[in-house]
Structure formats: structure tokens, C-alpha cells
């Protein structure tokens, strides 16, 4: 088999030149071109001078991603992968290497939702109502059944090496859609299991790394040790100035800019232009971001729809609503995280709690996006780093399972009301329509109009991709 991981590029552009281009908006260029060209093929030249945007015509529906990351590995068998056979075989012994091997039927009933009739359990009654917008990927598998590796794998496509994150690649490929906001925002990311690596830029330009936004929790910036303590009032590092009023700070910036312009006149230093602009952007962000995360101007009905104000759903509801607001403002990639899915025991109580916290907000997000006409060009992804075993652990729990699990996607040009792929009759292993992380990444990029095999960055002597030497687009799930 011949790999094309190292296909040499005709023109190598130095890292610094690349950064200059990014500085003046390689990404912005890409985005403008995409709009201008109405997602026609080959509009954008990659860093190596070859087209990065190759996917043609109708595949390029998605303009942004909202990734609902369920950290810990939610059980597919109790949510989105209906296994009647598992019900029948409840309590039977299974010869497995770990655990006691007794199959455990899901304690929850499954019902069909929507016109498409997708089977979804009673843990997700609201999401089930959105079934016709959802494409279940029931044949997922990943590399390693350990949280840290699988999380980093899902976010970067590699657990062995430090690589750029999915969101960084998307931002690198498409640029940001709002000059007042970062193009890749991750809301309340977890600190462990790779931490900042999960939204890091690695060797891509630093400007495409995810910006961490902390809301609604007394933040401990896990991955950012040594940096300022986040507070609900300061969702982005150093966003707030405690000392000077806005007008006072404006005067200060005006003074700085006057000195900068004086220098520009004297030195003809091209970098000054960008620096002057960076202060203006920072100043606008200070105003814009608090505005954006301030939900008080949302209608009461909207807040209720997201479950904001209800204890169980308030936290995640806020994050989902924020995700919509960032999406509206042109942020390219938004990640929302919810931990607590590692149900080795107490499956019954923990899954009720977990799903109870996210079901309503997720359904609200899908509905809200749809009402605003944004679901068509927003790719919503739900999933965790792996699934759980069909056999019980500790009587009332399930173990990690990398061999088969379910994630789903909605909107953004994906086929709704579809179940693609499947696990074996008791749900342990993906056997049909199997998608690994690379295939999922490749397909998601395809939906964004990006060709995973040409979206590359030259580093350490070769062209790197999100999908490394692997990945294939799964056309069956593209609308």
C-alpha cells in the first residue's frame, strides 16, 4: 500500500512567511473565497500552494462546527444503540478478558423517534424528537480504551504524538468569520486527559489554537497552570481590567497607538500595522465577549427551552445557548464539554443524572438553530471518546469499550434520520459501516468543504494532516 503522508510540496513556504500570511488572514482569505465562490471547488490555496478546499459543490454545506464533547465515554447501549438481543441475553455470561462477563440489558426502554423512526432510549426523550435531523454513527471504534489516549485521539487524530486539534485544523482551513472574536472557542474544557492538547495548535500557527472560555463555574484553569485564575467574570484570560474604566483604558490605548504611529513614521516597520490592529481587536473583544456571554437579554422562553434556571440543566443549557450565540457571531469551531460519563458503577443513577443534564439543552440547541435557519450550515456533533461494554461491571456499571460505540452528527449537510453502521447483536464491537476516528474526521472536514488529504501543513520535513496517512470520507452519510 502506498501512503501519501509525505507527498512533497512543490513550493515550501517558510513558517515565518506562513505566519505572515495567517497574520493578514490566510484563514480570512479562505473564508472570503468560500463565500464568494459559493463553495465551488478549489478556491483556496493551502500553505503549500496547492488547493486545500477541493470538495465540490454541495458537500460544503457546513460553515461551522458545534462539538458537544461527552468526556468519560457515554454508554451507547443505554442511549443511541438499540440492542434487543442484549435485552434477551441479559445476565448471560460472556467470555471476555475483563469484568465478570455478565451481559447487562439496558435498564431503559427504547422508542422510535420522528418520521425516520430512529431508536433512541428514554434517557434522551427530547433529542429523540429531533431524530429526523440526526445521523447516528453506530459503527464507531477508536484506538485505546483509556480516557486520556482516546480523548486526545478524538481531538487530534493521534494519541502517540502531539498534533494540532480538530478545531485548529478547521480554523486553519477556513479562517474566522468574526474579526472581534477568536475563531475557535472551547467552553469549559476539562483539565485532564490531554488538557490543553485537546484544543492546542501544536505546530500550526499559534493563532489557530482554541481560546478557552470559562463560564458559570469557579474556574480552575486546569491546563493553564500559572496563568491567571479564571472567574465567571473573566471568561477569557486577561479579558478584564480591574483598574481602569473603559474610557480610561481607551485613552491609554490611544496614547499607545500614538507612540506606535510615531514609530511607524520613523521606522517603516511593517509589523506595526498588525500590532496596532491587535490592540483594537483586543479592545473590542473586551466589550464584545462579556456582552456575548451575558444571557440576560435572551427571551425567557429561550432560556426555558434550554433548561436554564432549572438546576439539573442550567449548566449545560448555558453552554449550549452560548454555543449558539458564538455560532451566530461567526466563530468557526465551538466545543462544549460535559464530563461525568465514566459509569463503571451506579449506571442507573448516573446515566439518569448525566442525560438529564444534557438532553433538553441539546434538543433546544438543535431546535433553536433550526428556527434560525442555521442548522443547515452548522454541523453539530455529539459524542465521547469511546463507548461502554455490553457486560456489566460491578453489577450496575459498564467498562470502557473502544471497539464499538455511537456518536451522532446533525445539520451541516449530514443526512438526518439516518442510522449508519452497527455493532454486533449485543453491542460490543462495530461490525458494519465501521468508522474509525480518521474516517469521522475526514467526513466532518468534507462536510466543511475541506479535503482531508490536501489540508496539510509542512512541519519537520513533511506535510501533516489531521488524518495522518489514513481517513476516508463516508459518502453514505452526506446529504
Amino acid at each position: 500500500m502506498h501512503f501519501d503522508c509525505c507527498s512533497n510540496s512543490e513550493t515550501i513556504v517558510s513558517r515565518r512567511e506562513m505566519l505572515t500570511r495567517v497574520g493578514c488572514g490566510f484563514g480570512a482569505m479562505a473564508f472570503a473565497a468560500m463565500l464568494a465562490q459559493n463553495s465551488m471547488a478549489s478556491a483556496i490555496l493551502g500553505p503549500d500552494g496547492r488547493p486545500a478546499l477541493v470538495a465540490g459543490g454541495k458537500s460544503a454545506k457546513a460553515k461551522r462546527v458545534i462539538f458537544l464533547y461527552m468526556a468519560g465515554g457515554p454508554s451507547h447501549l443505554d442511549t443511541f444503540d438499540y440492542k434487543p438481543e442484549l435485552e434477551r441475553a441479559d445476565g448471560k455470561n460472556l467470555s471476555v478478558g475483563r469484568g465478570n462477563g455478565q451481559l447487562l440489558a439496558s435498564p431503559w426502554k427504547f422508542q422510535q423517534g420522528g418520521k425516520s423512526g430512529l431508536w433512541i432510549s428514554d434517557l434522551f426523550p427530547n433529542v429523540r424528537n429531533c431524530a429526523d435531523d440526526i445521523c447516528l454513527l453506530r459503527g464507531m471504534k477508536t484506538a485505546v480504551p483509556a480516557h486520556a489516549q482516546a480523548s486526545v485521539m478524538m481531538h487530534t487524530g493521534s494519541f502517540q504524538f502531539v498534533r494540532p486539534s480538530f478545531g485548529s485544523w478547521v480554523l486553519y482551513g477556513l479562517g474566522s468569520g468574526n474579526e472581534n472574536l477568536p475563531g475557535f472557542i472551547t467552553i469549559n474544557p476539562g483539565a485532564g486527559n490531554g488538557g490543553a492538547q485537546n484544543y492546542g495548535a501544536s505546530f500550526l500557527p499559534a493563532s489557530v489554537q482554541g481560546t478557552r472560555v470559562d463560564v458559570g463555574r469557579n474556574g480552575n484553569r486546569g491546563g493553564g497552570g500559572g496563568r491567571g485564575q479564571a472567574t465567571p467574570d473573566e471568561p477569557i484570560e486577561d479579558l478584564r481590567n480591574d483598574r481602569y474604566t473603559r474610557s480610561a483604558q481607551r485613552e491609554q490605548i490611544d496614547f499607545v497607538q500614538a507612540l506606535n504611529k510615531e514609530r511607524q513614521r520613523r521606522e517603516k516597520d511593517n509589523a506595526i500595522e498588525g500590532l496596532i490592529e491587535s490592540y483594537e481587536l483586543a479592545f473590542r473583544m473586551q466589550a464584545e465577549v462579556p456582552e456575548l456571554i451575558d444571557l440576560t437579554n435572551e427571551k425567557q422562553s429561550t432560556l426555558e427551552m434550554y433548561g436554564i434556571g432549572t438546576a439539573a440543566t442550567d449548566g449545560f443549557g448555558r453552554q449550549c445557548l452560548l454555543a449558539r450565540r458564538f455560532a451566530e457571531e461567526g466563530v468557526r469551531f465551538i466545543e462544549v464539554s460535559q464530563g461525568g460519563w465514566d459509569t463503571h458503577r451506579n449506571l442507573r443513577t448516573d446515566m439518569e443524572r448525566q442525560c438529564g443534564a444534557v438532553d433538553r439543552p441539546i434538543a433546544a440547541l438543535l431546535t433553536d438553530l433550526k428556527q434560525r435557519g442555521m442548522l443547515d450550515d452548522t454541523l453539530v456533533i455529539w459524542g465521547g471518546e469511546f463507548g461502554r461494554t455490553p457486560y456489566a461491571q460491578n453489577g450496575d456499571g459498564r467498562d470502557h469499550n473502544a471497539k464499538g460505540f455511537t456518536i451522532w452528527m446533525a445539520g451541516g449537510g449530514v443526512k438526518g434520520g439516518l442510522s449508519y453502521g452497527s455493532t454486533d447483536p449485543t453491542g460490543g464491537e462495530a461490525i458494519d459501516g465501521v468508522m474509525d476516528i480518521h474516517a469521522w474526521h475526514a467526513t466532518a472536514l468534507h462536510l466543511m468543504g475541506l479535503d482531508h488529504s490536501t489540508l496539510t501543513f509542512n512541519h519537520a520535513g513533511r506535510d501533516f494532516r489531521l488524518t495522518d496517512v489514513k481517513g476516508r470520507v463516508v459518502p453514505e452519510i452526506v446529504a
Binding site: 501512503f3 503522508c5 509525505c6 515550501i12 513558517r15 515565518r16 505566519l19 495567517v22 497574520g23 478478558g97 455478565q102 485505546v144 480504551p145 483509556a146 486520556a148 486526545v152 494519541f159 502531539v162 490543553a196 492538547q197 505546530f203 499559534a206 493563532s207 493553564g224 497552570g225 500559572g226 496563568r227 477569557i236 479579558l239 478584564r240 480591574d242 483598574r243 474604566t245 473603559r246 474610557s247 485613552e251 499607545v256 507612540l259 510615531e262 514609530r263 517603516k268 516597520d269 511593517n270 509589523a271 498588525g274 491587535s278 481587536l281 466589550a287 462579556p290 456571554i293 451575558d294 440576560t296 465514566d342 458503577r345 460491578n394 453489577g395 470502557h400 519537520a460 520535513g461 513533511r462
Partner: protein, 928 residues
Amino acid sequence: MNIAHFHHLPPRLTLPITLVAAALAASAAPPPASLDRPSAARRDDPMEEMQNDAMDSDAMGSSGMSAGEVRQKDPSELTQAEISFFESKIRPVLSGACFKCHSEGSRVRGGLRVDTPDAMLRGGESGPAIVPGDPDSSILIRALRHSDEDYEMPPSGKLSDAVIADFERWVEMGCPDPRARENFGTTSTTPDAYRASASGIDIEKGKEFWAYQLPTRTEPPAVQHADWPRGDVDAFLLHGMEQHGIAPVKDAEKSTLLRRVSYDLTGLPPSPREVDAFMRDKSKDAYEKLVDRLLASPAFGERWGRHWLDVARYAESSGKETNILYPHAWRYRDWVIDAFNQNTPYDRFIVEQLAGDLLPARDDREFAQLWIATGYLALGTKSHNARGRAQFQADLVDEQIDAISQGLLATTVACARCHDHKFDPIPQKDYYALAGIFASTETRYGTVAQQQNNHPAQLIRLPEGVGLPLGPTQPESVQRLLAAAYDRIAATVENAPTAAELREARLAESRGEKPKIDLQAAQRARNAQGQLEVYNHLATRFDTDGKPTSGNLLAMGAAESGRVIAVPLLERGEIDKAGAIVPRGVPQVLCVGATPELSSASSGRLELAQWIASDTHPLTARVWVNRVWLHLFGKGLVRTPDNFGSSGQAPTHPELLDALAVDFMEDGWNTKALIKKLMLSRAYQLDSTPDANQAKVDPDADWYGHMLHRRLEAEAIRDSMLAAAGTLDLERPVGSMVNMVEGSARLDQFMQLLIPDSRTRSLYLPVVRDAVPQSLQVFDFAESSFVTGDRDETTVPTQALYLLNDENVLRIADAFAKRLQRDEGTTDERVQRGFVLALGRKPTGAEASASRAFIKHFEQVATRSSAAQPQETPAQARGNRRANQPFGQRIRERMGRSDSTIPNDPELIALSAFCQSLFATAEFRTLD
């Protein structure tokens, strides 16, 4: 040239006796990981559940040999009889009765695997499974005999006496085992000389590429303006300019030059006194004296040592998924700084880092320093929570190959891990040849086994009484935090159920009954045991007053593993696709000058090091010369400093690069002399503003017709702020903050506690991967997971936010303002002094009047109780409510934990805003 002083010494050397003893003690002692392992409850618990958050397959043992033990033969040494004994009597039983629980991919109960010889020797939580030659000491035999209640194996029932006798005999024979060593793959059976693959790479043809030919000296070309060049460097450069129709711009102003040289050599701005002295010195050699003085200052090593630390991917934690701290990495950092200050010849500098442990030493202190140098090999990223030992080991070696080949040779050898290199003539075989050298090396990176850390290793124990610093003293705040954490963990552990209780509870739960104890709490207690280990280890390094003890005399580094092995080529780099064994060696295409002969008695590291650091290596000198050039001219003669291969860029001035490389070697690999030569060139002293022609045809100074504007590195920006404020502490701190802790927990709190008050130079701030201090991160600090030859220079709004709002910046500005205020004088005098301190020059008339106006106006703003904007949103209003408190009050609140109390003084506030504004200017962060 004088490099022969160590090249021709034999690799085996007589070490000082005390050190031999120390070294033996260090390697024979159990690794920190296994100290006081409270594992009775863990290891004999058959119901013990694989704790999924923590892959707790264990822990490597030591390589020391005990009495009665015989050496296990390598596969290549086995007789046919020994092989067939293993194949007929031993292997079937192992795979039939043991693999289910004790092989890679199984649960690896008790941390024990028996599917490779290494895994058996290493053993599990209870120690080595086999002791070759000594059945009675072999846990495996005891378990088979059912002579020990704790280990009755297999659990399904005792094997026949005949089988047990076979195993006893096998151990007596010395455990002959033809299975491949696990470092790389497990399926290869008999070693087999590698047969040239059908790779299609033509090595001889590959050697024709410019980078693989030895550099040669050519005479500098004739130039039209023969009066311009001050030496060969200028002649080569001017020739290039003339060919492209460019004339060099004017020479830089003296003050510009002073600032340029100061930052380039020390990373610090010139002090006002230095400015005065230099401006007054009208002697002809004033500039050269300046260069000499700064080359000799201790700050030189800090500046250039940090450049090297970028290349050495220096960090104080493992990075990747779990980010375990490396508390002893700082000794390598200090070693690098000292090496630059002592101007250690670069060839020697390389050999010490790759094989310092194998070099002769005059005394214990030098021996210790040489061993610390090998920390270079141990610092890389690692996945401490990886499950399989073989994969972990392969990744470790891969990281070393990548760091060395890119860092020292600008060659991307790691590309050949999975297949032949796509662009460069490096077959996959060459990768595994190099891998054998490192597979025969033991990398000592330390760390303590705990949740999320399955791969602790030893450290190097350094000798006492030779003047090595013990480490930092824990401040009281850190001691308090640690004590509180310890109490909490100890309390959790105290509540841990006994093994019997745990077993019973799990059985009950699996029967669907309610267990008597809280299983989740039990799990927490179990994890806490691991954490307790970490604290116990910390207690061996610090006494109860927080002072470092001799137990803290530890370093990271490399040592001979004691077993020289060649590794098999892995198909597609996959650990279970082992092919033929590849003899150890180096990439063939680089052997244009010499091919190293690797001793069969040692890993080959020393030979590798000497080969790399020889004047017959085509790349080493060129790569280093290019790195030095890059730091002085803003970009390399080869623009891709870590990749001289065909996918990198060719040099813009190949003859100049070669001439510099050849001269450098002939000068005895003298880095300071090289730097001085480049700084004395006229090209280095050019103005940074291009003329109209250059602005059009060569704005990026590809032909060096003008100097580039360069952005200061993160460290220089923070150091300059502190220097302007007069609070920079130029003393090197002892150790690192990271040394005060261990493991991975609560790092945030420690850093929060310690970093804001730090006044040391920025290179001494903790470098924890993925958690670099904001002051460094925001200005493109090196990505310490990789070799970074050339840092990014981005301009992004987070930098503006940092300079405008960060509490530490505000505090430094306050200190700067107080410094100005202490000098009696008019506002104008203060403005003048502020410019000189921050920017190294006096303000222009326009700047001075703008500054005075700003200060005056800001004083009024600060005096008013409210400066809120008339139309504000609710969110802004919330912010402004805070902002509308009197300034002084808020500042006092903010400054509460520092030593000073700021009066409610509008003048000081305005001065502080002025000082901060100077930090925020383009000029402050730019080198002209």
C-alpha cells in the same frame, strides 16, 4: 584544532571509586517507584479490578543482579538444545496457562506479563518473576509450586509435577529464551542479519545532495565595492547583494547597535549607565570591547542556553495525556547555561549530552556534571499512562531519535519509522539501526508510580559533598499546601478497606447484593495510596522545614542498560509487526566522512556522539553555525533550521555557510568566537530600515542588505519590563519551582502561588508542558514538545490583552512608576527617564509632549470618582461598578498580597499607566 583530547580515549574508563559505589548503589537500589510500596492489599487481591482511569499495569523493576543470579543469554547465543527445550516445554505452558492474564492485551494481573523475556525479568508488583539460575528465588517457580499462599498459579489448579520440574530446570539453565526482546516487537524469533530491502533508495546517489557532502572552504568572491566588507562574511554577503542589484543601507546608529547587541548577547536591555558609557566611548574599538564584555557576562549563558533549550525541547514535565512533572530537569537547564558561559567547545558539548556518563572525569564533581548533561536524552514527551511497555519503549526511543536527528543534524530520521523516508535517502532500516543504540540505553527520567503513571523509571543519584546545590527551599505557603494535601490523602488512605473487605464487597456487588462498604470510596482510597507514594517520595527530598535534603541530589539522564541489543525492523512501525533484526548503526547517507565502529560491549552512544561531533560529519557544524546565524540575523542561511533535507530549503549562501562551518571547526568549535565574528561583520551592524530599492525588491532582507526588525522573545519582554522597573533579580535561583513538588496534582495552585512574585529572569520560570506561564505563552514561547529551531513571531490580540490587563504587568508597571517617582523631578524629567529605562533612548519632542499630556489627563481621571462611559451595557456596567471604586482602593486590594501598599495617589496611578503604555508599544518589543 584541539578536539582529540577525548576522541581517542577508550570508552571504558576508570571512575573515581566513590562514584562507582554511588552509581552502583543508585542502580541497585529499588527505583523511587517501588519504595515502600504499600501493596499487600493490591497484589494478592484476585478480584482486584483493573482500574480504568489508571492503567495500573506496573512498573519497571531494577536491573541490578543479585547473588546466585546468572545472566540470561541473548537469543543469538542460545544453543539448539536450549531453544528446543524452551519451545517444547516452556512456551506451550506459558501461552496455555498464563497468557490469558499475563500478556500484553490481557488484564496484566499484578502487573506481570510473561509474554516476553524482558517482561518476565522485570516482573510485576511483587518483583521479578524469574531469577535466571535460581529457581528458589523465582516467584514464578514458587507460584507454580503453590509453596506460597499468596501466589498459587495458575488459579485454576496446580500444574503437573513434571511441568513444574521443567520450569525449575529451565530457570536453572538460566532461562534460555529465544523470544525477541520486547523493546521492539514481540514476534520475531531468530535474529537474522538484515537483508537490504527493496527500498529503491540509492544511498550513493543520495550522498550527492549538498547537505551530505563535507563542507569546503572557498575563497570569498570579488566584489565591486571592495571598501565595504570588513571580512569574509561581508564579502560573501555583498557579492549576493550585488548580484541582485542591491546596495547595503547605512550603518545603524550607535544607540541602536547597543540595544541590538545587548539583547542578542544577554537578552537584556542596556542599563542607562551602559548607554552613557558606550555613547561616550569614542575609541575605535568601543564596539568590539562591548561585544567582548557582554560575551563574558553570565547573562550570555542564560540567553544562549535558552536558545539551546528550545532545540533540546527542554521542559519540566512529560506533556501528552497526563503531564507528570520532571522535578529534576532543572539540573540539565543549569548545565546548559554553564556550558555556554564556559564556552565549552560545541563538539564536546554534544558528546557530553549524548554520552557524558561514558566520558572520563577528573573528579566526582565533573563526573556528576557529565551525567547531568545526558538529561538531554531523558527530557522528551512521554505517555506515562500508556498500557504496553513495548509501545512505551518504542515511543521513547522514537522521541530521542527525533530530537537528536533534528536538533543536531537537521535531518528528519523519525520519518523513517514506518517506511523508507519519502524525500531523503534514509531507508527504514537506518532508523532501526539507530534505534538499537537507544534500545541498549536506559533512560532515567524518574517519576513515581501512581494513578496515570505506569512507567516510572530510576533517576541518577548524584554524589554528595561536591558542591552541587541541593535544590530550592519550599516557601511556607507551599509547605502549607503540601501538608494539607498530605493530610487529606492520608486520611483517605486510612479509610481504605482491607483486601478481604474489598474482595467481599465486590463479590457481594456482583451477586447483586448491597456491599457492606462504599466501593467508590474504596476506589478513591486506592488511588490515594498512589498519591501517598508521591508525597512519601517528596518527603525523602525535603525536610520538615521545607529545606532540600541530600535526597534531592537527583538528575535525569541516560545510562548503559547493560544489555546491548539490536532491534527488529517494525513493519509500518507497528509494535506487533517485527521483522528482521537490524544491526546497530547510523544513517548510511551521512557516512561520507567516517562510519562509526560500534563496540559490542556498550550501547554505541559514545561512538554515535563522537561521530556526530566530528569534523568529518557533513551536517553538525553547518547546522550549528546556521542556528547561531539565525539568532543574530533573524533567519537562517538555511531557512529551515531543523531540516536540511530535500524537503527543507537550500541555503541562500551555500559558500558562506560552508566557510563558516569549516572555520568554526578549525577554531575548535568555539561558539563565542563564531558569535563575535558575526557581530563584527558590517552586515550585522546595518540599519534596519530598507531603502526604496530594497523595500521593493527585497523587503524581507533575503540578501541581508538591511537588518530585520525582530520581535523580542517572550523571556526578553518580561525581563525588560522587570529591568525597567528596577526589580529584575539577576541572580540565578537555586533549582526550579517544579522541584518543590512531584507527580501532577495541584500544580496550578503552586504556580499561582509562586509565579506572580517571581522576579527572576524568565528562563527560570517553570516550563511545564501545556502549562507555560502566560507571560511566556502569549509571546510564542517554544513548543517544548518538539525541537524548535525558530520560534513563531505572531501578533495576536491575546498579547494586547496580556499587556493591558494582566495583573502581573500592572504590578510591574506600578514598580516602574514608583522608581520614577522616587527621583525628584518634573513630569518631563520623569518622562525622559521612563523612555530611557524602557526603550533605551530619549523621547522625541512629540513623544514627550504626548506623554506629559497623557499623564496629566490620567491624573485627573484618576482623581475623579467616576469615569464610567455614559452609555454602557449591563455587562459593562457590572465591570464599571467595580471600576468605579476609587482607584487606590482597588489597587490596594489587588496589591494586597504583595509587600507594598499603594497610596491612593493619582500621580502614581497616572505614572503607572504611562509606564505600562511604554511596555505596550511596538518599540518595546521590537529590536531594530
